[in-house]
Symmetry: C2
Subunit: 250 residues, 2 copies
């Protein structure tokens, strides 16, 4: 049925597996998306009928840059990174953004009918609803109100990318590190009396890629902040001891 489409990369990956789930479950999950608040019931049903539930193990790729768009993915649970790569001798990645539940992946490529402009990989175990392009267009045609809402996803992405460009161009490495930490903290941190504690879903390497600097530079920036008692580094967990001070270094 979807024979013309090359199988999306998740279908070929060991970490991913499809699960049969009853209809109602999926429908309920979709209704939780803030994005679709106030949208007609029929839209959810139509989407739910088309959706495949997808469990993606941490670290497995959902799609890669340049790959033809097979589907869009509604993130129900977990966190994923979007990134760009360069090959060649000195291969590198740049993280474009980290998205959590309630977001949508692969939408731009699906709507434009062009190859993916970035790769997407699960940072934690994820639960996604995959909707194939054909089905998406079908549902969009039948429930335009829902389709129009999808605009917001792209508007938000564009805004975030503009922010990223601004950071890369205008701010120094230490400033970007500070911002990255604050972002991670608001996403993943628990507030305690010592400060904001979290165990980042990003490795040091990935933090560097998100910040647009080398792993070594990131390491140095962190140690520096620890030395100044703004951070506490203990194994994998990071505590922001002086959030205000960190913010002032932005």
């Amino acid at each position: 049925m979807r024979g013309e489409n090359a199988p999306p990369s998740w279908a070929r990956l060991p970490g991913a597996r499809c699960r049969a789930v009853e209809h109602l479950t999926k429908l309920e999950g979709l209704k939780e998306f803030e994005l679709f608040e106030g949208i007609d019931e029929g839209f959810f049903q139509a989407l739910a009928i088309s959706a495949e539930v997808l469990e993606l193990g941490a670290g497995t790729a959902l799609y890669r840059e340049g790959e033809p768009s097979g589907a869009v993915y509604f993130v129900r649970e977990g966190r994923a990174k979007l990134y760009r790569s360069v090959g060649g001798p000195k291969a590198r990645d740049q993280i474009l953004g980290v998205v959590g539940d309630g977001s949508v992946l692969g939408l731009g490529a699906a709507l434009e009918g062009r190859p993916q402009s970035h790769g997407a990989t699960a940072l934690t175990d994820c639960v996604l609803y995959a909707v194939f392009r054909d089905d998406l267009f079908d549902v969009m045609g039948r429930f335009p109100a829902g389709a129009v809402r999808l605009n917001r996803v792209l508007a938000a992405r564009a805004r975030e990318l503009e922010d990223l460009v601004g950071d890369l161009v205008f701010r120094s490495a230490p400033q970007r590190v500070a911002r990255m930490l604050l972002n991670l903290a608001t996403e993943e941190g628990r507030v305690t009396k010592r400060g904001v504690v979290f165990e980042p879903s990003l490795s040091r390497q990935e933090m560097a890629e998100a910040t647009g600097i080398s792993r070594e530079a990131l390491s140095r920036a962190l140690s520096r902040l620890a030395q100044e008692d703004i951070l506490d580094l203990d194994g994998k967990t990071i505590t922001i001891l002086q959030p205000a001070e960190l913010r002032s270094r932005t």
Copy 2:
């Protein structure tokens, strides 16, 4: 600002002036937008009724970063730059993109109902169709097929921004200069037997801002290319003598 419709900045700017134009003219103009190919006639009429024709002199600002979204602008003629700024002692701009006719400005902010995330300024004299937010939402509600098309604009913008991030992070200054020249050439160049000739709509300063480097570095990069007979610089006009060579420096 007072009320929900604070006057958009163009209304306060000397270079801008509104023109009374008959209905049919505007409608014809809108139908030329490739973006809306195949869309129902009613959509154009509804948009045309709401649209104001706006003439914007070269160099005048359409909207600024942080300003509340008043309207969206359909670019009928001319070229405009989108940019980010930092204030402070060492104020700088970074050009996020240059758009020409057939594109739409200010859409993200309008849809999100948030302040503009970037500024927009005319590079050349422009003719725009301005549609106020309220009117836009009204038309989108009545003609969802057209509304859904708008997401292509945002998808394209997001893709372009991803490209920009990739360039900034992965490529060296000379490589970015080469790309910028090639982009300008395809947009604005005439092919002659000597090579591709154009008189850029961007000043040197702006070329530097688009490339993410200093004016001096841009100047040097250009002279270098001229020295190697890849470019010819003559006053304001640039001729790309060896497009292939330039492309290989990407």
